[in-house]
């Protein structure tokens, strides 16, 4: 059975349509990245999935339970771990007290195991926590009752790079244990490293849902070359060069074609330096989805 089915989900705040007739399905056992720039409507979708906000139109089902009914959704919630964006806690309680409270509401059979991996200072009041510590506490509470489905809003924000990597590894292990993971992000690299499939949302509309490999093939690489002679676009007779810009002996473009063709073309020139990098998500949108509306 699908873990999450989103059907025509629409949320309007007055004239602003934050989610516009979204349709997608998340299968059990996959990691699904919900990618979009800030303000695209990612959090709005998550709040509706969790029943915090009612859809204006359409609905979603989690494990078959309709999110529009609190009573229905509660049957699913025992199987959901949730990590809100910028998690907030009562500042005067300690991390341990917060976890005890959460445990009383939903269970905590995996608490100790998680605390080996994520290490917030449990005996201190949360008001003393850094952003990273708050995020780790939120991660522990999200997973501690061993839920089947994780819904997370920007889960790695605030984590240092080492913890981010540990978290990504942990997500892959969880997926391999059969868990379903749905998380939002605005960082393409993160989605690329851990997700099986990606849904891209922009301005409240779902632009595409595809497998990560397909997305990357379409997203391409950002290439910067520094040559000893100035280059023009005509110097490259290669498919898949987009957004060519040159300034003196530096040139940059996004490349979505066959790498061998690119290197063959580059071999005709004398390279001083070359950088090949993930394009920032904004570039992906600009080059590939900008003209679709």
């Amino acid at each position: 059975m699908a873990a999450i089915e989103v059907q025509g989900l629409t949320k309007a705040y007055g004239d602003t349509v934050a989610n516009d007739h979204l349709d997608f399905t998340i299968e059990s056992g996959e990691i699904f990245g919900y990618l979009g720039p800030n303000g695209a409507g990612k959090s709005t979708t998550i709040r509706q999935l969790m029943g915090f906000q009612a859809p204006t139109e359409g609905t979603a089902r989690i494990f078959g339970h309709d999110v529009r009914s609190d009573r229905e959704l509660r049957k699913a919630k025992a199987r959901i771990g949730f990590l809100p964006g910028e998690p907030a806690f009562t500042p005067s309680v300690t991390g341990a007290e917060l976890l005890d409270y959460q445990a009383a509401l939903k269970g905590d059979e995996r608490r100790e195991e998680l605390l080996d991996l994520f290490t917030p200072p449990l005996e201190r009041q949360i008001r003393e926590y850094s952003t990273g510590n708050k995020q780790m506490l939120a991660i522990v509470q999200a997973f501690m009752h061993d839920p089947d489905l994780l819904i997370m809003d920007e889960p790695t924000s605030g984590l240092d790079p080492l913890k981010q990597e540990a978290f990504h590894g942990f997500l892959r292990e969880e997926r391999d244990r059969g868990k379903t993971i749905f998380f939002s992000s605005h960082i393409l690299g993160e989605v690329r490293r851990v997700c099986d499939r990606v849904g891209i949302i922009r301005d409240g509309k779902l632009v595409t849902v595809e497998h990560v490999e397909e997305l990357l093939a379409r997203g391409g690489k950002q290439v910067r070359v520094h040559t000893d002679q100035p280059l023009t676009e005509a110097d490259f007779d290669v498919d898949g060069i987009v957004g060519f810009e040159a300034e003196g002996r530096q040139a940059q473009f996004t490349f979505t074609g066959d790498y061998n063709d690119l290197f063959a073309a580059l071999a005709d020139h004398h390279l001083v330096d070359i950088e090949i990098d993930e394009p920032p998500i904004e570039e992906v949108f600009m080059h590939f989805y900008g003209g679709e509306e």
Partner: protein, 262 residues
């Protein structure tokens, strides 16, 4: 069971104990001055009689020459009815709006607990200050009255406290109602204080005027410590009415909270 109430009440313990101690000490101070007034040659009751009726009634001031009249006016009508009423309204205002605004509530509502249950259990945590203060305050007051050798009747003292509970619950319910309707935590808390205070004023200024009925919407109209302590009249209808209104207000708040967007 009642995990949320326990969690919330634990955070109220320190504030409640501090408040209980503060109110207790204030009560002792007030009672300590009583003998000076009782034994003074000045005709204080004549002075009270000369005050405007709304003032007299508003503060329940009838006579300062008996310990009952003095304590009722100086302690119960002001500190208990007004100050503690404002405190409960403020505490009620802080039950949900602040947690909604900060996003703290998301972590709780993500668990398989019903929204209205969360709200109701949070409301129940107001029981801690209500119970603690209603236990500590009579001890301070009774102890003080013994110490100055003007003992109060402990029965009517307890009656004042028991019958003030519905009033305090209602003040908390007014706070809860604002806390589910308003989006900002500080607005709900200040708003609740303002509402209870304005109702108190409305009750006081309309007394003895043609529009006395206007003050009937104020909860303070239905609780009169002076009547109980000084005149030893116990009326159960008014507290019951307050309690019913409180229940209705809580239920409406829960229903609204169940359906609103967070």
């Amino acid at each position: 069971m009642l995990d949320t109430t326990r969690y919330e009440a634990r955070q109220r313990v320190r504030g409640t104990l501090a408040f209980a101690l503060l109110l207790g000490l204030f009560a002792l101070l007030i009672i300590y001055i009583f003998p000076t007034i009782a034994e003074s040659s000045a005709d204080i009751d004549a002075f009270i009689e000369s005050l405007p009726e709304s003032f007299r009634e508003g503060f329940g001031a009838e006579t300062y020459t008996t310990i009952e009249g003095f304590v009722a006016a100086e302690l119960y009508q002001t500190v208990w009815v007004l100050l503690l009423g404002l405190y409960m309204a403020y505490a009620g205002g802080g039950l949900l709006a602040d947690d909604i605004e900060s996003g703290r509530l998301y972590l709780v509502l993500a668990t398989p607990i019903a929204r209205k249950r969360v709200a109701f259990e949070k409301f129940l945590s107001l029981g801690l200050p209500i119970v603690v203060l209603n236990l500590s305050m009579p001890l301070f007051v009774f102890g003080g009255s013994i110490a100055i050798d003007y003992p109060l009747d402990p029965y009517y003292l307890l009656v004042v406290h028991v019958l003030s509970i519905p009033y305090l619950v209602l003040c908390g319910a007014i706070g809860l109602a604002l806390s589910v309707v308003l989006d900002r935590g500080d607005a709900a808390q200040r708003g609740a204080i303002a509402v209870v205070f304005l109702l108190f004023l409305l009750d006081s200024v309309t007394l003895g005027t043609d529009v006395e009925w206007l003050g009937a919407i104020s909860p303070t109209r239905y609780l009169d410590p002076t009547d109980i302590l000084l005149h030893e009249t116990v009326d159960l209808v008014d507290p019951l009415l307050l309690f019913v209104v409180a229940i209705v207000l809580v239920l409406l708040s829960l229903v609204h909270f169940q359906h609103r967007d967070l």
